[in-house]
């Protein structure tokens, strides 16, 4: 491998890594926002992405609806579905036994139901792909080749993240979410409606998952097992510290770039392994992640 090739690979790896990484960052964001407010790692996040992708596919291909209806409809459906799951199922789970592990197992249950349901409809039997939404044209940035679709993906993801951060930091709802994350009881005392906030958090997380699904689906073959993309989201969240929203975003881009580097410099077979190695390395060397701050000392 000459210097020229290395340089070319570096550019291409960073460019492709940022594009795919922006989707990982969205998924990581969706995971972390739930974890921050309810301490539940949502193991069904990947299936939420998958299910949203299939809703969009169904509307677009089998109902031949125009894109400007399909996109908001998918996001709304994911928002409503996730919020209802929180309200109808997780509230009852929390009432029956407050321990978070039960909530985690319930999310595992949801992931099975969603996957089985998509398989049952038959759309998931054969790998399908989205019809091309925009004509893919190649663009050179430096020596890296990207498509117009890639640029749309990256731009949309960054805009969504910016909007989310603005909401989380400056709006009343965002403040309420942060308050619930810090201390649910105190938040309730000052008048925050916990049930409502949890529903909104899950809804937003579902909506972000749907956006991630809309962005990634044109680039991959869709199957009922495409929820395994969540591994990348978890890896990104862990690299970022699992409780840090900016960390999740940085982690997403990092994982995207690492994945591409591994594919270009080592072997395409090793790509699958990259996130797990990243997870284990980060957890062993710096368990609190890049942005996790100090490990809390817990009161007994």
């Amino acid at each position: 491998m000459t210097i020229d090739v290395v340089f070319l690979f570096l550019q291409q790896g960073v460019a492709s890594g940022l594009v795919i990484g922006s989707v990982y960052a969205l998924i990581a964001l969706a995971i972390v926002v739930i974890f921050k407010t309810s301490e539940v790692p949502n193991f069904s996040q990947g299936e939420m992405v998958m299910a949203a992708g299939y809703i969009a596919l169904y509307l677009l291909v089998f109902r031949s609806m125009p894109l400007w209806i399909v996109m908001p409809a998918t996001i709304l459906a994911a928002y409503a579905g996730a919020a209802l799951f929180r309200r109808l199922v997780l509230n009852q789970v929390a009432r029956a036994n407050g321990s978070p592990v039960n909530l985690v197992i319930a999310t595992l249950g949801l992931s099975y139901v969603l996957r089985g349901f998509v398989r049952q409809t038959g759309f998931g039997d054969t790998p399908r792909s989205f019809p091309p939404v925009i004509e893919p044209q190649s663009i050179m940035i430096g020596q890296a080749a990207v498509t117009t679709l890639d640029l749309v993906i990256l731009t949309t993801a960054v805009l969504v993240m910016a909007a989310f951060f603005w909401m989380f930091k400056y709006t009343k709802i965002g403040r309420a979410m942060r308050a619930v994350g810090m201390n649910p009881k105190a938040a309730q005392l000052v008048g925050v409606d916990l049930t409502r906030i949890h529903m909104i958090v899950w809804g937003l997380s579902g909506g972000i998952s749907a956006i991630a699904a809309l962005l990634i689906s044109p680039k991959v073959l869709m199957t009922a097992d495409m929820g395994s993309i969540v591994t990348m989201g978890f890896a990104a969240a862990i690299v970022g510290g699992f409780t840090s929203l900016p960390g999740a975003v940085v982690g997403g881009f990092l994982i995207g770039i690492i994945e591409n580097f591994v594919g270009l410099f080592i072997s395409s077979r090793a790509i699958v392994l990259a996130p797990f190695v990243a997870i284990m390395l980060v957890l062993v060397i710096r368990p609190q992640g890049l942005f996790g701050g100090r490990v809390e000392i817990k009161k007994v």
Binding site: P41, V89, S99, P100, A106, L114, G116, F276, V300
Partner: protein
């Protein structure tokens, strides 16, 4: 004194009063055990090979569940790499039989020890973390191991899977499920007894102390770290033994069946049976193993029903099937 850790485990409440007097309870338990033992003995004379295959499989699941019970139910450490250790057990005993022609008791022991040793190493690394981080680290290890099974072609056969030659002892060869059955039953019973012994020993008490609050346990002078690593290693040992049990009656293994799905299946069994009790682990393995076998032909229904069972149990019977039935009976007895 409560430790608000992220993945805290349901505290087993004391049994509902008013169900039955302790003496008669013991009697029913004894009767149940005798009944179970009799069923296990007469089973091979009554049923077809297919049913015996299912029985063997259920016994493997029981041992897997006992292993997960030790680390999650007793010690409260949320480890998600059980399928990896199970796989290590299958491949170790399979390869020891294939390549070295070892008699099966030896290859079984080897499988348990190799899995246990890997478990100790991973435990020593992973147990620096707690809660969600431990769950994710062990999840990552499990997925990485599946990748190894799938890609280490020279040893595991990679995506072609591995043919396992029949288990041997001297000139005796285990060729059918019927022949494997006594071996599998005896090993499973030994593992159940071992679990009861561990649970009642000082070690088992230290596990539960760690589960309730590791800070309090440390203050009591329990070596918390050592207890956690021991539980983790033991759980891997159980999974390895379960793997070698599987290798005695199965002729083929493919890495596809050694992924996160299998870990979740075992977790489901333990949870549905009731976290923290041996009866729960064994009963969950039987009930859920049967359900999963009946639904094997229709994978989509299987997934939906698994999912619904998990959700409904978490909503209405978080302490598991047996606690739920006991509560119900207690309520009925009181009118």
């Amino acid at each position: 004194m409560s430790d608000k850790s992220v993945l805290m485990f349901p505290r087993p409440k004391s049994d509902t009063p008013g169900l039955a007097k302790p003496g008669s309870m013991l009697l029913t338990q004894g009767a149940l055990m005798a009944l179970g033992a009799a069923a296990l003995i007469v089973l091979p004379f009554l049923v077809t090979g297919y049913v015996l295959y299912i029985a063997n499989l259920l016994l493997v699941f029981i041992v897997l569940c006992l292993g997960l019970h030790l680390v999650i139910g007793e010690t409260g450490q949320f480890a998600l790499a059980h399928a990896a250790f199970y796989g290590i057990g299958i491949y170790t005993s399979g390869l020891a039989g294939n390549a070295l022609g070892w008699p099966f008791p030896l290859s079984m022991l080897l499988a348990g020890l190799v899995a246990g040793a890997v478990g100790l190493v991973i435990g020593a690394v992973a147990l620096r973390m707690r809660d969600i981080y431990l769950a994710l680290a062990t999840f990552a290890f499990g997925e990485a191991m599946q990748w190894v099974f799938l890609n280490w072609d020279q040893v595991t056969g990679g995506p072609n899977g591995l043919r396992i030659s029949p288990a041997r002892l001297g000139s005796l060869e285990v060729l059918t499920d019927r022949q494997a059955y006594p071996v599998v039953v005896i090993v499973a019973l030994l593992m159940i007894v071992l679990t009861v012994v561990i649970s009642r020993s000082r070690l088992g008490r230290s596990f539960r102390a760690v589960r309730e609050s590791d800070v309090a346990a440390m203050a009591m002078g329990i070596p918390v770290r050592r207890a956690k690593i021991t539980a983790f290693g033991l759980s891997a040992f159980y999974a390895g033994i379960a793997g070698s049990m599987f290798a005695t009656f199965s002729t083929y293994i493919h890495p596809d069946s050694l992924g996160f799905q299998t870990t979740i299946l075992v977790l489901t069994m333990v949870v549905v049976g009731g976290l923290g009790s041996i009866t729960g682990a064994v009963g969950g393995a039987i009930v859920f193993g049967l359900i999963s076998e009946f639904l094997r032909q229709t994978p989509s229904y299987q997934e939906i029903i698994y999912g619904l069972i998990l959700i409904v149990f978490m909503m209405y019977a978080p302490r598991g099937l047996f606690a739920f039935v006991r509560d119900l009976m207690g309520r009925m007895a009181r009118g």
